[in-house]
């Protein structure tokens, strides 16, 4: 297992290198100085521009510039935001907790709902409840998340007034109090549900089909013949087998949350990394854009790595592949 994990981690390094090269060249292709953000874009004096370029090393060979950028990036220096005039790392650090909170809530909702609905559907297939859940799943998989999000804001925030329609917390409440956390949870619920809708639907369907398939296996018949109650067979014997593949989806979730967060944060005006990314693109704050691009790409790679490793733990045959 250790060997397999090591091989996977080592296999990720060339991929990370290639992705970072692509991001680097994209950053260079962007107008202005998107690598460090030190050059003032409003000062168009060619002498100043040339002096700054020389000082920041933009006249050096490309590989030296790349090396400098990568080492800076890994030591946490993401350059300076041209819009906020502060280090991009601080800017990201400010917004990241919100996105992580949103992602974790979304994962929690996804797994709780998927378990509840999947268990019910799997135990009572082809009943009314199962069909209703299947209908919900089909909608969850087919309706694009931004359409669902817009409808969710319209009905639940504006028409029913159950949830706030924007922000991550009420600004009037003091930080650290219980009310503050309740307000945060209240703000995060709806976006988290929309963000997790697709995964909820697919996991429910997966769990249902897996439960049905496993319930026809011989060990279930044996347990039944020995007089084990049906409830115990489902909760202990079958679920244990069905849970395993579900856990491996966690890695893919991390990758999917990256793209999902951008859209969801935009719909709900939720101040996280995704909204920062979109605002930075609109305001031509390219150092911030490139730092977030690199960060999200790395997260997708790490998510896939986690998925691979979890697969290896669950299914020993994969380790040899």
């Amino acid at each position: 297992m250790l060997k397999y994990t090591l091989r996977r981690v080592l296999g990720m390094i060339p991929m990370l290198f290639l992705v970072s090269v692509v991001v680097f060249f994209l950053a260079k292709a962007m107008p202005g100085d998107s690598l460090s953000g030190e050059i003032d874009p409003t000062n168009t004096n060619p002498e100043y521009q040339e002096e700054m370029r020389e000082k920041l090393g933009y006249n050096d060979p490309v590989y030296m510039q790349y090396y400098r950028w990568v080492t800076d990036f890994m030591s946490g220096d993401f350059g300076k935001s041209t819009r906020y005039k502060m280090p991009v790392a601080d800017l990201i650090g400010e917004k990241l907790p919100n996105t992580i909170f949103l992602a974790l809530t979304s994962l929690l909702i996804t797994y709780v709902l998927a378990f509840a609905m999947g268990m019910y559907s799997g135990r009572k297939p082809y009943t009314l409840g199962d069909n209703l859940i299947a209908g919900f799943n089909y909608a969850g998989i087919a309706i694009p998340s931004f359409v669902a999000g817009v409808f969710a804001v319209y009905f639940f925030a504006f028409k029913l007034n159950w949830f706030p329609f924007a922000g991550s917390v009420d600004i009037e409440i003091d930080k650290g109090t219980i009310d503050y956390w309740i307000s945060r949870i209240h703000h995060v619920m709806l976006p988290a549900f929309v963000l997790g809708m697709f995964s909820t639907a697919s996991y429910t369907q997966f769990l249902r089909n897996d439960l049905i398939e496993n319930s026809r296996k011989d060990f279930v018949r044996t347990a039944l013949a020995k007089g084990t109650p049906m409830g115990k067979i489902y909760n202990v014997h079958i679920l244990r087998n069905s849970i395993i593949p579900l856990v491996t989806f966690l890695g893919f979730d991390i990758a999917a949350l990256v793209g999902g967060a951008i859209i969801t944060e935009k719909i709900f005006t939720y101040p996280g990394i995704g909204l920062l990314f979109l605002d930075s693109v609109n305001n031509r704050d390219y150092p911030t854009v490139m730092a977030i691009t690199m960060m999200l790409s790395a997260m997708v790679l790490i998510g896939n790595l986690i998925a691979d490793i979890l697969y290896g733990i669950v299914d020993p045959r994969i380790r040899l592949g």
């Binding site: 292709a29 931004f146 409808f151 793209g259 859209i263 490139m290 790679l301």
Partner: protein, 305 residues
């Protein structure tokens, strides 16, 4: 036919139906898929006829001109779906917008299917070093966060090339990984058959083996995949346009129309502006998905329907 096959001993007098004929019959019998097909064809015809329909549907058939006197009128006799914040008829824009959204979806799907099939079949057929090189490259493309890169590439390329085609190209070039993987695995399985060995042994050039012998057997998978892709690439266009990074904003598309929902007062108080595009996107995506599921079912020789 099925009863004949089941009993086995009964003599077959008529010619057995071709796989395509069986698939067609199965598909025609699938009510949900047929209803979806009719709906989709209707949407396509209506959007294609937009220039002819628009003058009859609305007193202001112009889709870009701003009419200050007619801003945000709720649906009425003159404007079946009302007008948007710039005083443009929503119904007319919905028809013209459909052309753009469907065009982007279809063109990007074409790029993805062609690229994915070429990469997948070459990798699967030749195997070895070619295979690992191409598949590593595929992994590499699949590892990009799609949305982030489309937005970044769009910002760089914007202004250099016409906006609509930038979008189609960027979406196409970033999405072929999945098709390549599926085609490769199908080709890998298919090339183990004797007829492929026979074709190679009599000196058929690789390109001909792939095109004439392997691809026809992978075709059903490609058809199903491209249907589902068509749906997800329409979602990509509308989603990107909704975020403001898709089709240039002066061009009406379903996503650009839905982007009005970004303004809280429109979202809350003027649902006629954003609800029609939201509903038509959902209905189109759902119908394409049903067609895809129907095709999958029809082309699967093991399914009973």
């Amino acid at each position: 036919m099925t009863t004949n096959a089941a009993t086995g001993a009964v003599k077959r007098t008529e010619k057995s139906a071709s796989p395509w004929a069986i698939a067609r019959r199965k598909f025609l019998r699938n009510k949900l898929a047929m209803a979806s097909t009719v709906f989709l064809i209707l949407v396509i015809i209506l959007t294609l006829m937009a220039p002819f329909l628009a003058p009859h549907l609305s007193p202001i058939p112009d889709i870009t001109k701003v009419n200050i006197s007619k801003m945000s009128i709720p649906p009425n006799g003159d404007h079946l779906l009302g007008t948007d914040k710039s005083g443009r008829d929503v119904m007319t824009r919905l028809l013209y917008g459909g052309r753009i959204s469907l065009l982007v979806g279809a063109s990007a799907t074409a790029i993805v299917v062609v690229l994915g099939t070429i990469v997948g079949s070459v990798a699967g057929f030749f195997g070895g070093a070619v295979d690992s090189l191409l598949m590593r490259f595929t992994d590499f493309v699949l590892n990009f966060p799609f949305l982030v890169f489309v937005i970044v590439l769009n910002t760089i390329l914007f202004g250099i090339v016409d906006g609509l085609w930038v979008l189609i190209l960027v979406i196409g070039l970033l999405s072929w990984g999945g098709v390549a993987r599926i085609v490769r695995s199908k080709v890998l399985a298919e090339k183990e058959n004797e007829y492929v060995l026979a074709a190679i042994s009599i000196g058929t050039p690789p390109a001909k083996v792939i095109i004439k012998h392997l691809l026809p057997n992978v075709l059903s998978t490609i058809i199903v995949q491209s249907t589902l892709l068509f749906a997800s690439l329409i979602v990509a266009e509308t989603g990107l346009s909704y975020l403001g990074f898709g089709v240039p904003q002066e061009t009406p598309s379903w996503g650009n129309m839905l982007a009005f929902a970004n303004e809280p007062d429109v979202l809350q108080g003027k649902p006629w502006i954003w609800m029609p595009p939201a509903l038509i996107i959902t209905a189109t995506i759902l119908s394409i998905n049903f067609i895809g599921e129907g095709l999958k079912d029809a082309l699967n020789p093991k399914s009973q329907r």
